[in-house]
Symmetry: D2
Amino acid sequence: MLRVAVIGAGRIGKVHAQTVASHPQAELVAVCDPIGTAAEDLAARFGAKAYKDADALFADADVDAVIIGSPTAAHAPQVLGATRAGKAVLVEKPVAKDVEEARALEAELATFDHPPVMVGFQRRYDPSIRRAKELADAGELGDIEQVVIVARDPQPPSAEYVAGSGGLFKDMTIHDFDEARFFIGDIVEVSAFGQNVLPELKGTGDFDAAFVLLRGKDGAVASITNNRRCVTGYDQRLEVHGSKGSVSMDNWRETTLSVNTAETSGVQQPYLNFFLQRYADAYRDELTAFIDAINNGTEVSPTVADGVAALVVAQAAEESAHSGRTVRLDA
Amino acid sequence: MLRVAVIGAGRIGKVHAQTVASHPQAELVAVCDPIGTAAEDLAARFGAKAYKDADALFADADVDAVIIGSPTAAHAPQVLGATRAGKAVLVEKPVAKDVEEARALEAELATFDHPPVMVGFQRRYDPSIRRAKELADAGELGDIEQVVIVARDPQPPSAEYVAGSGGLFKDMTIHDFDEARFFIGDIVEVSAFGQNVLPELKGTGDFDAAFVLLRGKDGAVASITNNRRCVTGYDQRLEVHGSKGSVSMDNWRETTLSVNTAETSGVQQPYLNFFLQRYADAYRDELTAFIDAINNGTEVSPTVADGVAALVVAQAAEESAHSGRTVRLDA
Amino acid sequence: MLRVAVIGAGRIGKVHAQTVASHPQAELVAVCDPIGTAAEDLAARFGAKAYKDADALFADADVDAVIIGSPTAAHAPQVLGATRAGKAVLVEKPVAKDVEEARALEAELATFDHPPVMVGFQRRYDPSIRRAKELADAGELGDIEQVVIVARDPQPPSAEYVAGSGGLFKDMTIHDFDEARFFIGDIVEVSAFGQNVLPELKGTGDFDAAFVLLRGKDGAVASITNNRRCVTGYDQRLEVHGSKGSVSMDNWRETTLSVNTAETSGVQQPYLNFFLQRYADAYRDELTAFIDAINNGTEVSPTVADGVAALVVAQAAEESAHSGRTVRLDA
Amino acid sequence: MLRVAVIGAGRIGKVHAQTVASHPQAELVAVCDPIGTAAEDLAARFGAKAYKDADALFADADVDAVIIGSPTAAHAPQVLGATRAGKAVLVEKPVAKDVEEARALEAELATFDHPPVMVGFQRRYDPSIRRAKELADAGELGDIEQVVIVARDPQPPSAEYVAGSGGLFKDMTIHDFDEARFFIGDIVEVSAFGQNVLPELKGTGDFDAAFVLLRGKDGAVASITNNRRCVTGYDQRLEVHGSKGSVSMDNWRETTLSVNTAETSGVQQPYLNFFLQRYADAYRDELTAFIDAINNGTEVSPTVADGVAALVVAQAAEESAHSGRTVRLDA
C-alpha cells in the first residue's frame, strides 16, 4: 500500500483524499492545509494525520508520496520540497504560477535524483479520451488532422476566485491545451479570441469564455471552445478527425433514460454537473498510473515538461487574445 | 414508362397516385373510384383519366398495371378482374376480407396465366428494414432468435373506420405479421393479448392495443406491441436479435436537431407523424420492385401467398386474444 | 454504522460484501459460507469475521443485519433464522424455492415482530428505472398502458448452474416480473413462450430464452424478452408507454466515444458486460434504502409479499410455456 | 406556375433543374449552357427549351425567373442581364468573383427597379438549421454566445476545380460564413488557420482544410472547421450555444438502423454522402421561398448584401490565414 499525503483540503484536495482512500493500492496517511481545522476535518474522515505545515509533512518518514492540491502559488516550492524529501509527487495543474517559474522548476528537478513527478491533467486517464488516444495511436484514424474540443463549465466560479486564478487560459483552458497536445503534439502556433459573456465577472478583467486555435508541429490543428457557464451541466466533448476516420466523445448523464411526449422525443437529463462526477474514473486511473510509476517504474504521463508546455500555450493564448496576432512558438 | 391506374381515391390511393406520378419509370394514366368526383379530382391533379367503374378500367387497353387501394371487400374481386384483363396488380393489405376468401383468390390465380400480383406490405422496402434483412440474410447476425416489433399509430382512426376495419389484427397488426414473417419465416404458434385503452373506441367491440407473440417454424420468436395511439408520433421500431449480433431500428424525426437546457438535454422533435412521411421511400421502392417484376421478371415480394399467410396469423391472433390459448398453425 | 453480515461468499455475496464495505453508513462485520475457506478469504479481504454456520452467525450480537446471498434453497430458513435472532434481512431473489415455501415464509413472518425484511430486486433502485417510476408516479406519462422489457445476459451460466437454478423464469425472469409489477401492479394474466437456442444447455431441460406477456390488474400489459446470451453484453432495456408519453432506457457503455470510418458511423463499445457493472449504483442505493428502513422506519420495497408475487408469476409463466394457455391469477 | 430557367447544366444546375421540375408551384421552361449539348440533354429530360446563350434566354418572354448556376465569373453579369430583362434571380454562391465585383453588382442593382434577387445559401432553408434559428429568434436559447460549425466534404474536388475555385474560403467556407452570420450577425473580426492535408491538392496553392474564428458585432464568436475530405461522408454539423441553452445538429444517415455485435454497438451507416442528398429539402424550400418572394412580396433571404458580406468575410479569412493576424471588419 502506497502511503499518500494530500496537501490542500479544498475542493480538489477532497477529491484526491477520497480517491486515495478508496483505492486498493493506496492509503491516505496525512492531510496538510495551512487552515489547520480544514486539514483536521478532512484527515479525521479517513483516519489520517493532519498537518498545517508542508515542511513538517515532508519530514514525515511514513509518507511515500504527496498529492499537491494547494493554491497555484505553492505548487512549485512544494514540488521541490517534497521531491527533495524523497517523496513522489502528483501536482495539480498548473505546475507553477507562470512559465518562468515552471521552467525554473523543471531545471531544478533536473539537478538531482528524485522519485516520479506527475502533473494532474487527469483527462489523459478518462476512459473515453484514453480510448480515443489508443485508437489514434493504433492508426485507426489515419493521420490526425483536426481536433475539436468543447469544454464548458456548469457554473462560473466567484469573481474572487477568477481574480486570483491566473486567468481563464491558465486556470481552465490549460486542461484543453494538454488534451490538444495529447493528440496533436507540440504546439507551434496559437490564436485566441476572448469573450466576456457573464456580467458578474465583468469586473475581474479576465475573459469568461474563449475560442483558441492551436497548430501542432505536424500540421494538425485543434480548436477549443470554452465557457465558464453552461446551463445544461458540465459540457465536455472531443472530436478527433483523421484521414481514415474520426472519434467523437459525448457527455454523460446520470441515467440512460429518455422521455417522449406530444411535443418532444429523446429527452434526456442534463449532463453530469461537474468534474468530480464526470472525471471520477479519471482521478482513480490517474492515481493508479502514479502508483505504477512509483512501484514499477512505468513512464510518467503527463510530465513536468508537459506541464510547462501547457503553460507556454496558455501564455501565448493570452497574448494572442489581447494582440489579435497568431503567436508562434518553437516546437 | 409503365402505364398505371390506381383504384381508390382515398388516403392510400392518393399515396399511390403521387408515388406513381413522381416515379421515373411510371406514369399515372387513370384513377378509379365509385365516388366519381373523388376519382375526377385526383385524376385531374395528375392529368389522368377518371373511372367510376373498375370493370371499365380493366377494359382500358392503355393501362398496364393496377394498384388496388379500395376498401378491403373489393380487393379479391378486383385482383381477379384486373389479372383476367391481363393487368399486373399491386394490391393493398389485407389481400382479402378473410382467410377463406384469400385462399380462394390464391387458388383461382393458380388456374390461369397472369402478370405479377404483389401485395402492399411496403415495409419490406423500407431502407432500414430492408438493410436489416440484408444483414440477416448475409449471416451477419448469426441465427435469428428473437424479434421485437413496436408499431404504434399517432392517432386512432374514427370509431366508424374501426367498426368496418375487420379488426385490429387484420387492419393494423397485419403489417407486423408480414414483418415478423420476413425475419422468422412461417408462423407455427400465435398468442395474443388484446387491450382497450381508448374510451372513444370502447363501443366498437374491437381492441385498440395488443401484444402478440409469434413462433416461427425454426424456433425464433417475435413479439409485437401495437397501439392505436402514440402521442409522440408514428412509433415504428424493430429489433432483430441473432446468435452473433442484433440490429435495432429507431424512429425518424423531421430534423436532427437536439436542444439542451438547464432541465434537459438531447431534446428532439416528435417522430414523423404518420405512414405517408415515414414510409414515403418504401412506397417508392415498392413501386420500383413492382415495375421490375413486370418488366424484368424479377421475383415478386410479398406474394399473394404472403398475403394469405399474414391473414391466417391475424385470424389466429384474434382467436388467441379471445380464447386465452396459444393457437398452433401448420407451418 | 450498521453492522452487516453477508451469507454466501459466491458471486452475489462478493457484490454485497464490496457494496457494504464501501458504504458510508455500513460496516462489513462477518461473512458466512458453508465452504469455510470461501468465507475466510472474503472476510479477510475486508477485515471481517468468518462463519461456516449461519446459526452461529445469527447468535452474534455484533451483527445488526444480514444480507442473504446463499443458494435459493437456504433463503427461507435463513430469513426466519435471522429475523428470529432480531436481525434485519435483505434476501436475494427468489425469496424461496417455490411459491408454497414463499407463502409459508410470509405467513410465518406475520406471526412475530421482527426488523425489516427486504427482497433483493435491486433494479427498483437503478437510477434510470427509479426515474422512470418517478415520472410514471408523477403522472408525466399519463395512464400506463404498455411496458416492454428486454433483458439479455451476456453469457449463459454453466449447464450445472442451470440445472439447479429452479428454471429460467424463477432464476432470471423473476427480476423482470418484479420490474413489470413495479410499473403495472399486480398481475392477472400470464402467457409465455419458451425457447431453446443454446446447444450447450439443451440437456438441462430448461428454456434458455423466453417471451412473456403479463396483464396487470388495471389492464396494462407488459412484454418481456429474455435470452441467456447476448454477444454485445448485458442488454437491459425498458420502455414504459402511457397515454401522455413514454420513457425508454438504453444500455450503458464504458465510454461515450463513437467512431466514424468510411464504412460506418456512430460505432460505440459493447454494453457493460454484466450486472456487477450495470447495477453497481443500484446495489449501493438498495443498501441505502435497507439502512433507511432499519434506522428510520421508512417503507421496505420490495417486500416479502413482492417476492412471493414474483414467484407466483414465474410459476404461472412456466405453466403457460408448457401448456400453451394463458394462466389467470387472482389479483 | 412560375416559369423558371436554369443557367448552367453542371452539377448544381442539375440539382436546380430537378428541384424546379418536381416543385408544385414551378415549371422548368429552359436550360442554358454554353456547351449546347449539355443544355439540350438536361432540357430534354424535363421537356424544356435549350439555350447556349444567356442573353437569348433573357429575351425569352416565357421565362419569369432564372436560377444561375454557371461558373462564378459569370454570376454578376448574368444577375444584371436577367434583372434588366425583368426576371427574378436566384444566384448561386458566391454572388461574384470577388468583393469588388460583388459590391459593384450591389450598387448597380440599387439603381433600377427589378424583381427579387436571392442568393443560394440554401442552408438557411435546411429544416434543422431553420429550426435552430427559430429557437434562437424565439429566445429559447437566451443570448447567443458561441457557435460551432463543422463542415467537411466527403471527397475533395479535382485539382483543376480547386485551382479555379477562387480558393477554399470563397468556394466552400462561404456557406459556413453565411451560416455563422445567420446566427451571430455581422462579422467584425476574422482569424483563420489554413491547412494542407491532401497530397493530391498540394500543387494547387490552395488550402484544403481550415479553421476560422469569427466575432459577431454583438460579441458572439463562431468557429468553423472545414475539410475537403471526410471519409465517413458529408459531415455537416452545427452547435449554437446561448445563455439559456444550446442546440446541436447531427448528421443524417440513409437508415435509422444500428448494429450490435460482440465488438461494438450502435453501429450506423456513414453520413449521407453529399449535398444533393443532405440538402434536398433545403433546395426545395429555398425555391419555395424564392417563389413566395416573387409572388407574394415576402422578404428575400439571403439578399445580395448577404452575399457581399460573406465574400468580405471570405477575403478576410484568406488574408488572416496568410498574415497570422486577426482581420477587423467594419460591422
